[in-house]
């Protein structure tokens, strides 16, 4: 089965062509990520085209799409989702939603249960908790690191994460990647920095793809309400 994998919920613009056989892990035919947190709309479709060309594949040959639905910063997230939706419409192919953090978790090798995080801005992180084989047991949620530490302590010990993985900032960011600091705050050993990958996203959807199940609706995981306050009564303009 030939798939296009898309995710724009992190600074990584993920655009890959992936082959999924009846058994075994998905195989990426083409699609290196590019890191450009504010250029998703510019770069995503050109990157998908380049990946298809590199894989020697026409869009029309693709059987289905897999799209990360967040959580992630909203503007970037929407670029990938609307791109996937429009491609799915234009090509007449189903679009399978997967959690972005699940797409990270699918590629993680961990000696025990682990926590996946990504940057939620405003000094908060998006997180989800996974068993050592990658299955999600809690989340996704959004929290400040100190809140997250408390939430971890309250989780059942059998599935409480013992390791940390994920991404906060892109590789080479002048402020550093930020993961070591978070690992300290949470008191968890760091497995490393990891972004969603084309094969990870497909792996997270592989059970429903192989079973031929129709996809769930493509709904973004924002996890936050829009910032909007109802106006108070108009300001006085005349001096009393």
């Amino acid at each position: 089965m030939l798939l296009l994998a898309i995710d724009t919920a992190t600074p990584a613009i993920v655009s890959g062509v992936v082959e999924l056989e009846d058994a075994g892990p998905p195989r990426v035919l083409a699609g290196e990520p590019v890191f450009a947190a504010r250029s998703h709309a510019e770069l995503l479709t050109p990157r998908l085209r380049a990946a298809a060309t590199a894989a020697g594949v026409e869009f029309g040959e693709v059987d289905a799409l897999v799209c990360g639905v967040g959580p992630g910063p909203f503007t970037g997230l929407r670029v990938g989702m609307v791109t996937a939706a429009a491609l799915g419409h234009a090509l007449g192919r189903p679009v399978h939603p997967v959690g972005t953090l699940d797409g990270v978790a699918a590629g993680v090798v961990s000696p025990g249960p682990f926590l996946v995080v990504s940057d939620a801005r405003r000094r908060e992180v998006y997180w989800s908790a996974h068993t050592s084989d990658g299955a999600r047991v809690e989340g996704p949620g959004v929290a400040r690191p100190d809140e997250l530490r408390e939430q971890l302590a309250a989780m059942p010990s059998a599935t409480r994460p013992t390791h940390l993985v994920g991404n906060l900032r892109p590789p080479g960011d002048a402020r550093g990647e930020g993961m070591a600091e978070l690992a300290d705050q949470l008191g968890l050993p760091l497995l490393g920095t990891a972004f969603p990958t084309p094969d990870g996203l497909v792996a997270a959807a592989s059970a429903e793809l192989r079973a031929g199940r129709p996809p769930a609706p493509l709904v973004p995981r924002y996890l936050r309400q829009p910032d909007a306050a109802e106006p108070r009564s108009p300001k006085r303009v005349s001096t009393p």
Partner: protein
């Protein structure tokens, strides 16, 4: 013009997401440059913004993501065609709300890539002008355009809507539609403020229009001739209303609405007609959401007739934001043989009006 060239036609899909309307439209363009409206579908999120008294960008962007592919699907169904029948795609690249624009741009790129069609990233403001060709035929070259909406108030000299649009004046503070929304709030009227104020003003009759002398912004001898200002007017209305309330006197909402509306329509039409006369342009196009205002239409018609200027106002449905206006502009670009935008173009919230199509 030969029959064959007039018959040969191209179909253009237009996608609009610059503010709170998700629009998809289809326009056919013939070999002789004439354009015809084929389909026009709009999904609006205006009701979700009403309680906030203005458009909330994040709410608008969320609504665009939900509505985009269903709106394009509906437009294609209404037109009885498939995406492969479309010859070119146009999308609003700016100006507008960044997050909202990005939804349309990303979707349009995906449609263009999947169907292998040329894509034009176009200027929303030029779209408001181009759309009138769907209703009233080819635009004269040049023409003057007065764009009035919740986000824009501009005078544009349009030599050619596909290639040469120049701003000769604009608001230095609030857009005209924004002033309507703010005054409506002062008067406890619903959002958006244009329709309720217009309704009250009409019901109040001609005498009410001059019952309160509200200021006409930037109309002094040394003021910028072609620019507009509505912030002072809004403050004057607020001050008048506060004065009444402080004195314990009733506020005659209809008189305030009618006098405010008269001040807005007076300045807009006086400046537009004077600019047309000074530039020697014989056609004025009034477009944008506020173009549906009854008093603006009346005064524009009266003053254009007196000055010997032809007035063109698109029907209300095409004045507000929609996909057909973007398709209409795309159709003009196709007819002019303009090159499509580069694959890496992005949304530009502050796209200058002179950039009709992004490179």
């Amino acid at each position: 013009m030969t029959g064959a060239s007039a018959e040969a036609s191209a179909l253009v899909l237009g996608i609009e997401t610059s503010c709170d309307e998700t629009g998809a439209g289809l326009v056919e363009v013939f070999g002789d440059g004439r354009v015809r409206l084929v389909a026009d579908v709009v999904a609006s999120s205006v009701e979700q913004h009403a309680r906030f008294g203005g458009v909330v960008p994040e709410i608008a962007s969320r609504a665009h993501l939900e509505a985009l592919t269903p709106t394009v699907r509906r437009a294609l169904v209404d037109a009885g065609c498939r995406l492969r029948d479309v010859d070119a795609i146009a999308v609003t690249a700016g100006p507008g709300l960044a997050g909202a624009l990005m939804v349309g741009v990303a979707a349009a790129k995906a449609y263009a890539a999947a169907a292998d069609k040329p894509l034009y990233g176009v200027n929303h403001l030029a779209g408001h002008v181009a759309v009138d060709a769907l209703e009233h035929g080819p635009l004269p070259k040049p023409c003057l355009a007065l764009l009035v909406s919740g986000g824009h108030t501009q005078l544009l000299l349009v030599e050619d809507v596909a290639s040469s649009v120049r701003e000769i004046g604009s608001t230095i503070d609030d857009a005209a539609g924004e002033a309507y929304d703010k005054v409506a709030r002062l008067l406890d009227l619903p959002y958006p403020g244009g329709p309720p104020i217009d309704r009250l003003a009409r019901a109040a009759g001609a005498a009410a229009r001059d019952s309160i002398a509200f200021p006409r912004g930037l109309t002094g001898p040394r003021d910028s001739r072609h620019d507009f200002s509505f912030s002072g007017l809004k403050t004057a209305v607020a001050r008048w209303v506060e004065g009444r309330r402080a004195a314990g006197e009733p506020v005659d909402v209809a008189s305030v609405a009618a006098s405010f509306q008269e001040a807005v329509a007076d300045v807009l039409t006086a400046k537009a007609v004077r600019a047309a006369a000074e530039l020697g342009v014989d056609t004025l196009v009034v477009s944008g959401g506020v173009a549906a205002n009854s008093r603006l239409g009346e005064l524009a018609a009266e003053r254009c007739a007196r000055a010997g200027i032809r007035l063109r106002v698109p029907p209300p449905r095409l004045c507000t934001d929609n996909g057909a206006m973007i398709a209409a502009l795309g159709a003009h670009l196709v007819a002019a043989g303009a090159p499509p935008s580069a694959p890496g173009f992005g949304a530009d919230p502050a796209l200058p009006v002179g950039t009709v199509v992004v490179e």
